[in-house]
Symmetry: none
Subunit: 174 residues, 2 copies
DNA sequence: TTTTAATGTAATGGG
DNA sequence: CCCATTACATTAAT
């Protein structure tokens, strides 16, 4: 449940613990048995969000507040239709298949940074805990730590580099 | 001899047959004697290369052809200094002891992919042949096929997941 | 422009 | 060999 984009209904497959005996899954004969391919988790849930309702029947696009929007008619019934409004940028991300960029809040960053100072390699347990506390996907946490480690290494490299360079320069000036 | 990262001047240690009595190696007292453990093949040749000449005395960095380079001063005498030019990318990998990431060329990938389509599990003989033809280590080939098989498996899982989910969605909309 | 979230994949280590 | 992870090079969003 990352902020900035909704998850649609794609999460329903994973809520094994909460469905009743008369759940949709059981009616459709898709009961999870923790065997075979149904256990698989989609790698691209933000794409599923649009696929869940099929290809749009139609769409119109327009400008609003200086931004390009598109209204897609996902389903047309006699008395109603289901529409979805998406921004142009998001649409671009979609067909490129790229996850919309997550914008962490300041408070989320603060927590992540404080954990990072203690442990740059949190295990799955810590990541799940963080994910729950910060209301983020565990995947986002993992990626954040990866990028954070890369950043740390970059800064180490730069400072080390400058140190050597300064030594060299000092020697030259002696 | 993987393409994708230059060897700088560090390859000189391997050209034992071509150096004269007044080579840099002999001046520095680093003559190879081919005795004892030196005959063994290192598991990490990309680390040995830098350790052989000790830590650089100093280094300066600069840009050339859009790439970061570093010039390291290996030894400073009164009238001369011995320097070594290395690319920045290589420098990064050094201090961590990790093999520099191989960047396969498009044509190498094409060959590997075409072989993969026919046989995902090439034996040592095929791998050696590929290594020779593509000018790569046999190890790189082996790793490539391992990663390629993992990728194939992922895509299979993903498509199966989507198939099941689409069935699920179709049922809902009927 | 700079920073950094996201991606693809080469490399590593354990089983 | 597999599998899960990690590092790393790049791309692209902000």
């Amino acid at each position: 449940s990352s902020p900035g984009w909704d998850e649609g209904t794609s999460g329903s497959m994973e809520n094994k613990a909460t469905h009743s005996s008369f759940s949709i899954e059981s009616i459709l004969g898709l009961e999870q048995k923790d065997e075979g391919i149904l256990a698989a988790k989609s790698q691209r849930p933000w794409i599923d969000t649009c696929n869940n309702l099929g290809k749009p029947v139609a769409s119109i696009s327009y400008l609003q507040h200086g931004q390009m929007y598109e209204e897609r008619v996902l389903k047309c019934e006699k008395y109603f239709s289901i529409t979805e409004k998406v921004s142009y940028k998001r649409e671009l991300s979609w067909y490129r298949g790229r996850r919309p960029r997550t914008a962490f809040t300041r408070s989320q960053i603060e927590v992540l940074e404080s954990v990072f100072r203690v442990n740059s390699y949190p295990g799955i347990d810590v990541r799940e805990e963080l994910a729950h506390k910060l209301d983020l996907d565990e995947d986002r946490i993992q990626i954040w730590f990866q990028n954070r480690r890369a950043k740390l290494k970059r800064s180490h490299r730069e400072s080390q580099f400058l140190m050597v360079k300064n030594t060299f320069t000092s020697n030259l000036l002696e």
